[in-house]
Symmetry: C2
Subunit: 321 residues, 2 copies
Amino acid sequence: MEVLILGGGGFLGQKLARRLALRGVLRGRPVARLVLADIAEPAPVEAPFPVATARCDIADPASLAAVFDAATDVVFLLAAVVSGQAEEDLDLGLRVNLMGTLNVLERARALGTRPVVVFTSSIAVYGGEVPDPVTDHTFLNPQTSYGTQKAMGELLLNDYARRGLVDGRGFRLPTITVRPGRPNRAASGFMSSIFREPLSGQEAVCPVGPEFAHYYLSPRRCVENLIRGAELAAEALGRNRCMTMPGRTWRIGEMIAAMTRVAGPGPARLIRWEEDPAVARIVGGWRSDIRADRALALGLSADESFEDNIRFHLEDEAPRV
Amino acid sequence: MEVLILGGGGFLGQKLARRLALRGVLRGRPVARLVLADIAEPAPVEAPFPVATARCDIADPASLAAVFDAATDVVFLLAAVVSGQAEEDLDLGLRVNLMGTLNVLERARALGTRPVVVFTSSIAVYGGEVPDPVTDHTFLNPQTSYGTQKAMGELLLNDYARRGLVDGRGFRLPTITVRPGRPNRAASGFMSSIFREPLSGQEAVCPVGPEFAHYYLSPRRCVENLIRGAELAAEALGRNRCMTMPGRTWRIGEMIAAMTRVAGPGPARLIRWEEDPAVARIVGGWRSDIRADRALALGLSADESFEDNIRFHLEDEAPRV
C-alpha cells in the first residue's frame, strides 16, 4: 500500500501522515511507503515505513508525474489555494484548484491503475437562495471562486470515477477548528485564531459577533474521517462520490463558553471584538444549517462537543519535547 | 447592439440568427451587426443588418479573439460537443465544453466590457439518486461527461457573473425536438428522427419503448426563450444565473399519437421499434420529472402541446423555394 498526500506539508497533511504512521495500515494493508508532496518541501514525519518528501506543483503535470506513479494506491488531494486567496487571485485559484485537480485525475487516467483518490471539497460549495437545511442533495451554489472551483472538482471526480478511471471519494470539509500553526489567508482564519492564540496567552481579534453560527470540525476528527473515507467500499458510494463531512453547528458565543469550561476564564478575556465588514461579507454567505446524513451513515463522525474540540487541540498541539 | 453566436452554424444558431433578422432588435436596441461563428463556416443568413460568418474554434483563445471583441454586446454560447461524442471522447469534450466555455469567459474578462453571455446548459446535468421532482434547486448530479462539462460551465458562468466580468445567464435546455436536418451524435437523436424522417416519408428506428418519458421543447420555442433569456434584467437573476428552460414531459407513445392527429396515420407506420441497450442506458439515466419554475416566472415558456411542436416543425422546415 503506497500513499501519496498532495498538500502533505499543510497542517492537515502533516496530521494525516502522523496518523498513518501510528496506524501502519490503510484499506486493510500495511503502508509500504508514504510520499508527502507540497508546493514547499514538507516537514518529514517519523513512521515505521519509509516516508519521502517532495516539492510538487499539482498545476504542473510533469511535477505531479514525479510523485504520482503506477505504485501509488491511494492519493489524498488536500493541496489547494484557500478561499481568501482564490477570491483575490482568480488565475491562481483556477490554476491550482481547478486545473490541479484535473491534472491529478488525468495522471490517474494516464497510469491506468485506478487509484483511490480522496478529494477535499468544502462547505463553501453551498450558498445563495437555496432552502435550509443543506443536505447531501442540496444544489451547489457557491458564492466564492474557491467554492466554485471545489464544486467543479467534485463534478470532475464523479465523472472520472463513473468512467472507471479513479476510485474517487470527495468530502465537503466543515471549517476545521482549532487549526494549529499560523494564520493563513482563509476568510475563516479567525474561527481558529480566537481560540488558538488566547489558549497560548496571546490576543486575538474576532471580526463577527457572538451570534455568528457556523459548521465546524476538529482537525483530529477530520483526519479520522479522511482515513475512513479512503477505506469506504466503492459500492457504498452510489452515483455521486461526494458528500458533506460531518460537523457541528455552533455559535461563536457557545464556542467561547466551551473554551472557558475547559481552560478557565483567562483565554476569553484575550479576545478583542472588532467587526470587519469584508470578512463578515464572505463568511456571512456561508451556510450553517448543514446535514451530513450520507457520511454519518457510512461511519464518519463529528465532535461530540466543542469542549472535545478544545481538548483535542490542547492534547495534540502541546509543545513537543 | 452587436451579437455573436458561437455555434452559429448549428440548427439552433441558424434559427436564432433568422429570428434576430426578423426582429431587428435585442435588449431594446437595433441589431447593428451579427457574427455567426462555428467550427465549420456557417451558412449565411439574410438580415436587414450586416451578418458576418467566420470559422472559430472556441477551444483556441486566438480563434475566439478574432470574432469576440470590444464591440460585442451579446454572446450566445451554443457551441458544444454533444452527449454521445463527449462520452466517446473525453479529451474533446473537456477541450470544447469545459475549456471552450472558460475561454469565452476569459475573453470577456480580458476585454473588460461585461458582455451579456447566454450559456446553453442541458438537463443532462441532472441524474443519479436525487429525489423527484427536479427543480431549479435540485443537486446537479450528471451521469455523463457531457452533463458534467455543462454543470461545470454553469459554475464558471456564475462565478464570472458574480465577479462582474460578464452579465451571464444560463439555461438548461430540454431535449430539442423536432430537430431539423440530419441525425447528429447525440444519444437523444432518435427523439427527433422518429418524427422528422416519417414526416418526410422515410423510415426511422425507435430504440426505446412507447412508455419512455422525457422532457422536450420545440426548436421554435427554444429560440424564443434564448432571446427572452438575453433580455432578462440582471437584477431578476439573483445569486444563481442558471435555470432550467421550460419544457414538457411526454411519453414516446403520446408524441406519436400527437403526430398522427396532426399528420394522419401514415408517418407512425414508418417507425420501426428496435430496442438499443446502449442508447437506453444513456437516456434511461436522464430525468423527466422536471420543473422550470424560475424561468416560467421570468416569462420563458414551453410548447402548449406536442401537436404544436409537430406543427411548428412542418411550418418551419417546409422546403424553401
